[in-house]
């Protein structure tokens, strides 16, 4: 069922109409989706920051930002501009090279992971074969950047924060990967597009959340821990560590950490919606609706319509999860470091292993429900 818009093909045909060779058309095409996704990620961060301010205000019975634009929607832009024009300080006793490289190493893998986020059948930068595995591999680079900035700051709080961040992300990566593995087992493929297509059979009923409820919860907890969101924000626990590895950072370098953590949150929410909530799928399959209305599914107008429904659904599901994450942040207390590591190693790891084993058994027993 290969349908949906193929913008790359149409764009290349359009340029070839001007007498350009297909290679040059391809080179002109290449930066476009990357730029688009980068812009989408940054706009997503602005929206999330605004939501965070507003929802936290509501949770604490305040009003929140009010005067910058209608309902304070311009507040995140003001925040960003402030960080942009602030002085870039490198502490005198810090290690300049590592201090600068740390935030970059934290941000780049997160942005690279957007490579595999699909908003529709052909609406992603690259449908690489290793798909979701690429994200797991890339997210394992992040602790190096955190350790680097923690060490380079030459500050005890920073070093402790960096070490905590690395320990946390190592321990939560394993249950995360195991719960992804259960999904991959059901899909027979690592590609994110295949994972969504495998859930598109019967609308909301065929979403992975019904077949992998344990995996869904484990994945969501681990994703929150990887994003260092409360209740798992120990690396920057302000009562204990000032601000953890970010203590010595100011200006744009701090903004890179800030951007990185929010882009990571949106990315995790998008991936949860792709892995467990049917990705771009509408709760009722669009083919059914088109058939019901006697509309041809391959007509150009219908394709534009289904593609936009797909984008809206992906973003909607992701922001629903972001909303839950923000609510969790402002209503739950922080766990202690020993509780955090106990939860990761003694609870989530065995549960996700058992989940993988049970999924494998169910796949053999009921191949029609759990992917043959």
């Amino acid at each position: 069922m290969e349908y949906g818009l193929d913008l790359e093909y149409s764009f290349n045909e359009f340029l070839k109409g001007f007498g350009l060779s297909s290679e040059i058309a391809h080179i002109i095409w290449l930066p476009l989706p990357m730029l688009l996704v980068l812009v989408a990620a940054v706009v997503g961060v602005l929206v999330t920051v605004w939501l965070e301010r507003k929802i936290s205000a509501a949770a604490q019975q305040r009003i929140g930002p009010e005067y910058a634009g209608a309902l304070g929607v311009l507040q995140p832009i003001a925040d960003g501009l402030k960080l942009l024009v602030k002085e870039d300080i490198i502490p005198a006793k810090a290690d300049g090279i590592l201090f600068t490289a740390g935030p970059i190493l934290v941000l780049v893998p997160v942005i690279l992971s957007w490579l595999i986020v699909p908003f529709g059948q052909n609406l992603l930068i690259s449908n690489v074969g290793i798909g979701i595995f690429l994200w797991i591999a890339l997210s394992s680079i992040q602790p190096i950047g955190l350790l680097m900035s923690g060490y380079a700051s030459n500050n005890k709080y920073s070093l402790l924060g960096g070490l905590r961040a690395a320990a946390q992300s190592i321990s939560y990566e394993i249950p995360l990967a195991l719960s992804v593995l259960a999904i991959v087992l059901m899909t027979n493929s690592l590609s994110t597009v295949d994972i969504v297509n495998q859930q598109s059979g019967a609308g909301i009923l065929s979403w992975n959340i019904w077949r992998q409820p344990v995996g869904f919860i484990v994945f969501w907890i681990c994703a929150l821990a990887e994003c260092e969101r409360l209740p798992f924000d120990l690396p920057e626990a302000e009562e204990e560590l000032v601000a953890g590895y970010q203590t010595e950072y100011a200006g744009m370098k701090f903004a890179l950490f800030y951007l990185g953590s929010y882009i990571n949150l949106i990315l995790s929410a998008l991936l949860v919606s792709i892995l467990y909530l049917g990705g771009w799928g509408f709760p009722i399959p669009v083919e059914l609706i088109a058939n019901f209305l006697n509309l041809p599914i391959n007509a150009p107008l219908i394709q534009v319509f289904t593609a936009s429904v797909g984008i809206v659904m992906t973003v909607l599901k992701a922001y629903l999860l972001v909303f839950i994450a923000i609510l969790l942040r402002w209503t739950t207390p922080r766990v202690r470091i020993d509780q955090l590591l106990d939860l990761g190693w003694k609870f989530l790891l065995p549960i996700s292993l058992a989940n993988l084993l049970i999924t494998a058994g169910l796949k053999l027993a009921f191949p029609q429900f759990f992917g043959g």
Partner: protein, 199 residues
């Protein structure tokens, strides 16, 4: 020459340069922290070489295992025993250097011999599998390479048990590094880091 081939050659030369310079830095730099971070850079560039060879799964596995696990743990260990001290001059440094150089040269000549005698070219360009490589690797791991795979996992299990025995001092009555009787009540009592030289 097409654009794709030019891009490949540029990527290859940049990656090889980074690997060579980074590897030299790992060996020659005085600061152990810099060496550890450079080692991560070298691992990343090797993953880039795998990508150029169309082995995307191997590249991602390289990043996950070597950068995400091995290198992070190396840096972690360095930072936990981060103690500034001047290394003592070793007495017979010259003979040690001669021995290590000769061993490295022997290994190098072995690798060069393999490089020269092996037939590298594929019989036909269709033999390159690209995206299907994940499935092929899985098939090989569970058929003709099953024994090495299982032996490797036994090795890892042994290493893990060893690490647990070393870390949990209550298993043994004597401390391995110092030979002193272990204080069973204070397991996290500060003791001399294992890496420091005691004389």
């Amino acid at each position: 020459m097409s654009i794709a081939i030019t891009t490949q050659i540029i990527c290859f030369s940049v990656l090889s340069l980074v690997i060579l310079i980074g590897a030299l830095g790992v060996v020659l730099l005085e600061s152990i922290v810099y060496s550890a971070f450079l080692l991560g850079g070298v691992f990343m560039s090797v993953a880039g070489l795998y990508l150029l060879l169309n082995a995307s799964f191997v590249a991602a596995a390289q990043v996950l295992v070597y950068v995400g696990a091995v290198n992070v743990l190396i840096i972690f260990a360095i930072m936990l025993v981060n103690k500034k001290e001047d290394l003592k001059p070793i007495s017979d440094i010259k003979s040690r250097r001669i021995i290590s150089t000769s061993i490295c040269l022997t290994l190098l000549s072995l690798l060069i011999r393999v490089d020269l005698t092996n037939v590298w070219s594929l019989s036909s360009p269709q033999n390159s599998i690209g995206e299907e490589s994940t499935i092929r690797i899985g098939e090989h791991l569970f058929s003709d390479y099953l024994l090495p795979f299982e032996v490797a996992s036994v090795l890892l299990l042994m290493a893990m048990i060893g690490a647990i025995v070393l870390a949990r001092r209550d298993v043994m009555s004597k401390d391995i590094s110092t030979g002193l009787p272990v204080d069973q009540e204070l397991l996290e009592k500060s003791s001399e880091p294992l890496l420091t030289n005691k004389n």
